[in-house]
């Protein structure tokens, strides 16, 4: 297993996870299928494995981790700019070090 650039955690997943820093333009082996890296990403970040459309559920570990807010091509970075939680806001610090909420709440109201 040495040398893997990305890992597919579950066969149903539509994203893969970077096992090292990846550069735009390189082609990596995504569970036997070549995937061209569109966005340079750091270790631990996600890339679209297939074309994703706004509204699509994103699957990691075979489970849903949220919904796309924008389309993403295969090999594109999937993160705060195009993926939102179906449960709770994600808060991060913007370039001015202010807290910003990335997305809206979803099924929590339905479940409770």
């Amino acid at each position: 297993m040495s040398g893997h650039a990305v890992i597919l955690l579950h066969p149903d997943d539509n994203v893969v996870v970077a096992c090292r820093a990846l550069s735009a333009g390189e082609t990596v082996d995504a569970a036997g299928v070549p995937l061209e890296v569109v966005s340079s990403v750091a270790l631990g970040h996600k890339l679209a494995r297939v074309s994703l459309l706004a509204g699509d559920k994103v699957r990691r570990y075979g489970s849903t981790i949220g919904s796309m807010t924008q389309d993403a091509a295969p090999g594109e970075h999937v993160h705060l700019h195009n993926l939102q939680s179906d449960y709770l806001h994600t808060y991060t610090l913007d370039s001015g070090n202010a807290y910003v909420a990335t997305n809206g709440a979803g099924p929590q109201e339905e479940q409770s």
Partner: protein, 396 residues
């Protein structure tokens, strides 16, 4: 290996003296006593608040009678709301040496500090006399916490700890995982692992309670560093955290300070009951460590991707580092390099076994990295809990 036998039959893997301040006003004097008395086995804990709180009272009672604790010095200012008489009684009834110093009665900082140091010296003989008896896997309680998670945590360190938990439970140990706010999105999967349907329902409800609580507060347990490390959503972080629980059946749901009635795997429900009060359930990773220790954990398996350095008072913390880059940068603070899985240098089962071996070594007296570096973090805040219902606990 041998453990320290306490009067209640529980066995410890350390034999420390605690100096406990009962309000922030007694913190400095307590720290002076710890610093001047010296040594790794004299540790500082305490509760800062002046208002009484039954959760804090209960946790202090559990912590001061934890099997790793051999004796306790309580330091009171004198006018705080904490019930020091009750706490001292609980410790005395447990057979441990205990002394309460009230700063206002003893005559201030210098006199109290001096008396505290002298009491610790006088108590040492009683600690040395604690019987050592054989300590087996069934005596062992291990908790797990993750802190500073990133996109690697859920791939390497957390499932490796999950594998270690499966092995430990198989040997007859008790394992505890948490925290319900970090399991949002995993509740129905978790319920399928419960040993009874009623427990499954209780597990689901505990996570939904956490969801409501965090929604009211406006923040989940998602910190900016998590996003820098590649995690995007709460449920993504949750799934990674959930991997720490392994694959086996879940035997019960306990609240902080409750003791598991039988060996097995338990979820700790850390989110307060009732309306939202006192702010965030756990203000930091240390408060999670302390709650697990209050429920008897002898050791904490702490997974980190971004790189945490924390240890704990009372029970050793073993750091399992998820990210190979972090491991290389912060090697002195780490016990296990689970990032080797990502680089193809080890498999998940190998790292799981390595964790079990390290647990046994540290239980046997080997110092963990954070212990060796002198980390003894502690924090205790306000909460409100009801007692667990019968569906939460297996028959002992």
């Amino acid at each position: 290996m041998n453990g320290y036998l306490r009067q209640d039959g529980r066995k410890g893997v350390r034999n420390v003296i605690l100096v406990a301040y009962l309000v922030e006003c007694a913190h400095h004097v307590s720290r002076q006593i710890v610093t001047q008395a010296g040594g790794q086995d004299v540790q500082l804990i305490g509760f800062s608040g002046c208002y009484p709180n039954s959760y804090a009272q209960g946790l202090m009672e559990r912590l001061c009678t934890h099997p790793n604790v051999g004796g306790v010095l309580l330091v009171s200012l004198g006018c705080e709301g904490f019930n020091r008489h009750r706490l001292e009684g609980v410790i005395r009834d447990s057979g441990r040496p205990v002394q309460t110093l009230v700063i206002q009665e003893r005559g201030g900082t210098r006199k109290t500090t001096q008396e505290g140091i002298e009491w610790i010296r006088s108590a040492q003989a009683a600690l040395d006399a604690v019987p050592r008896v054989p300590f087996g896997w069934t005596d062992l309680i291990v908790g797990t916490v993750c802190g500073g998670s990133d996109g690697t945590s859920g791939i390497t360190a957390n499932p490796a700890v999950g594998g270690a938990f499966d092995l430990l439970v198989g040997k007859g140990a008790t394992c505890i995982f948490e925290e319900t706010g970090e399991l949002i999105g995993c509740e129905y999967h978790m319920a399928n692992r419960a040993i009874t349907p009623a427990l499954g329902q209780a597990l689901i409800e505990s996570v939904h309670k956490a969801g409501r609580y965090y929604t009211t507060l406006g923040h989940g347990s998602f910190a900016p560093g998590n996003a820098d490390g590649g995690l995007t959503t709460q449920e993504e972080k949750s799934l990674g955290a959930y991997a720490k629980s392994g694959l086996g059946p879940i035997h019960g749901l306990i609240r902080p300070g409750e003791l598991a009635p039988a060996p097995g795997l338990y979820l700790m429900d850390v989110v307060p009951d009732g309306e939202v009060r006192f702010g965030f359930p756990n203000i930091n990773d240390t408060s999670e460590n302390i709650e697990m220790i209050a429920s008897g954990a002898h050791l904490i398996l702490f997974t980190t991707g971004r790189g945490s350095v924390v240890g704990s008072a009372i029970s050793p913390v073993i750091k399992v580092c998820a990210n190979p880059e972090t491991y290389r940068r912060m090697q002195d603070d780490m016990d296990i390099n689970a990032g080797a899985i990502l680089e193809g240098d080890a498999t998940l089962p190998q790292v799981a076994q390595e964790i079990v071996d390290r647990v046994w070594a540290v239980a046997g007296g080997v110092q963990s990295a954070s212990e060796e570096l002198g980390h003894q973090e502690f924090v205790l805040t306000y909460k409100t809990f009801e007692a667990s219902g019968p569906s939460c606990l297996p028959l002992a």
